[in-house]
């Protein structure tokens, strides 16, 4: 079954997180008005991205960028016809028409720019088709791209509180690292201000305290932490209140200490229904 929705409700960065953590393989189709884009993933990593107005084979793209001559492109197309299922990118490498690193650099830059532009969409329908793969002639990167740094770059372009507040409702919340942030952080390049915030995360300070200690605005700190959060590096939690109180001013009753025998009775009753 495809996953469908609108990025107004479930943002692109949220979806990239889901694809990453779920090791998803398939295609995320995005559309709004007459614009369309498709992002192909393999085991949670980005293989390629195409837009309706720029959906060209990798050979055409490389000719346009001056990395292949038309004759070389034709040679690759001819060779590819004899290949069984291999991607055109692999054929180009095998024929030594372009080096793997150079191909990766050119395609990664092109694909990243396509994806970053999508973060500017405030709404648009999405549909994720599990298992769908790109055409072999598409500009497929030799090394699939981890999505964490795409998320960070996308979040850098967020300039409104609304989306941030969905995940960080208050600056009184405490930021803490998830269990293995260092491993996940390997694919992410942080800007100077992001490092300043990253270095202040200790599981005790609130966002407001981090803003005060770094001299940055609360919005900037929240935006940066939102990026860490979306990339799965940190978690934000409420500062534990010493005595929970009701709005009426009364202290909230302790959670009832219940006996195992009573729980067993309820379990047996429901099983028997």
């Amino acid at each position: 079954m495809p996953l469908v929705g609108n990025i107004r409700d479930f943002g692109l960065s949220d979806f990239l997180y889901l694809v990453d953590r779920g090791y998803k393989t398939g295609c995320l189709h995005l559309s709004r008005a007459d614009e369309m884009a498709s992002l192909y993933f393999e085991k949670g990593k980005l293989l390629t991205a195409t837009r309706k107005d720029d959906n060209v084979p990798v050979t055409d793209l490389l000719v346009r960028k001056g990395k292949l001559t038309p004759a070389q492109a034709e040679q690759a197309v001819h060779a590819h016809q004899n290949q069984n299922g291999a991607s055109m990118s692999q054929v180009l490498i095998d024929l030594h028409l372009i080096g793997r690193d150079e191909l990766q650099r050119v395609l990664q830059q092109h694909i990243e720019e396509s994806v970053y532009a999508l973060f500017g969409w405030s709404e648009g329908e999405f549909r994720f088709e599990q298992g769908q793969r790109p055409e072999p002639t598409a500009p497929i990167m030799p090394i699939p791209l981890p999505v964490e740094h795409l998320i960070m770059e996308g979040v850098r372009r967020i300039d409104e509180w609304g989306r941030i507040k969905d995940r960080i409702p208050s600056t009184d919340m405490v930021v803490k690292f998830i269990e293995q942030p260092i491993e996940r952080a390997k694919g992410i390049n942080l800007a100077t201000d992001e490092w300043r915030v990253f270095a202040r995360i200790n599981g005790k300070d609130t966002l407001a305290e981090i803003a005060r200690k770094t001299g940055m605005s609360e919005f900037d700190v929240c935006r940066i932490v939102y990026g860490f959060l979306t990339a799965g590096l940190v978690d934000v939690i409420r500062k534990p209140a010493p005595v929970p109180m009701l709005a009426t001013g009364r202290p909230l009753a302790e959670a009832p200490r219940i006996k195992k025998s009573l729980v067993t009775r309820i379990i047996n009753r429901i099983r028997g229904m």
């Binding site: 996953l3 949220d14 995940r167 409702p169 909230l252 195992k260 009573l262 099983r271």
Partner: protein
């Protein structure tokens, strides 16, 4: 007579009323009125107060099930209902990603008071385009120790399974 309480919460149209109706031994007491806000777009009649169901465990023990109102303007009811509850079921409409943020807000609200035992029920799993429980776990950013269970609120066995899983969580925290 001892009574214990479980709370069924979730966004508008998540299936809370249906969930309680499916398992309650009594006719569910629902305070329903014609919706006056944007929930009208989702269903004609929506819960504006609460649902109440009951299961007799024995002569001396009763389990009460409370369904919380879905709309934000009834948040104050959540606080009252959460007092003394044994556990919490968070229902999610698996077919409507537009409700996932609201679901997170509800979880955040209940957890801000104390560590209440809870499970998440991925309702409407029989519908096309339903997100699977594992996809919902990722979408809601739920930690691995929180149970996300497939659910069809109209199916008695499915509702029983959700309650039994919640009771299993409660059992782990109970005393001898």
């Amino acid at each position: 007579m001892q009574t214990v309480k479980m709370v069924i919460s979730g966004a508008v149209n998540a299936g809370k009323t249906e969930f309680i109706k499916t398992i309650s031994e009594i006719e569910v007491v629902s305070t329903e009125r014609r919706a006056t806000d944007d929930t009208r777009l989702i269903k004609k009649e929506t819960t504006v107060a609460m649902d109440f169901g009951r299961i007799a465990i024995g002569d001396d023990l009763v389990l009460h099930l409370f369904g919380t109102p879905g709309q934000k303007r009834f948040d104050f009811m959540w606080e009252i209902l959460s007092e003394g509850m044994l556990g919490l079921v968070i229902l999610v409409d698996s077919t409507r990603p537009e409700t996932f943020r609201e679901t997170n807000r509800i979880i955040d609200f209940f957890m801000s008071y104390r560590e209440t035992p809870y499970v998440v029920a991925a309702n409407k799993q029989d519908r096309p385009n339903a997100w699977s429980p594992e996809e919902l776990r990722l979408a809601l950013r739920l930690p691995a120790h929180i149970k996300v269970l497939p659910c069809m609120a109209t199916d008695r066995e499915s509702v029983k399974n959700v309650l039994l899983e919640l009771l299993d969580v409660i059992m782990q925290r109970s005393e001898d």
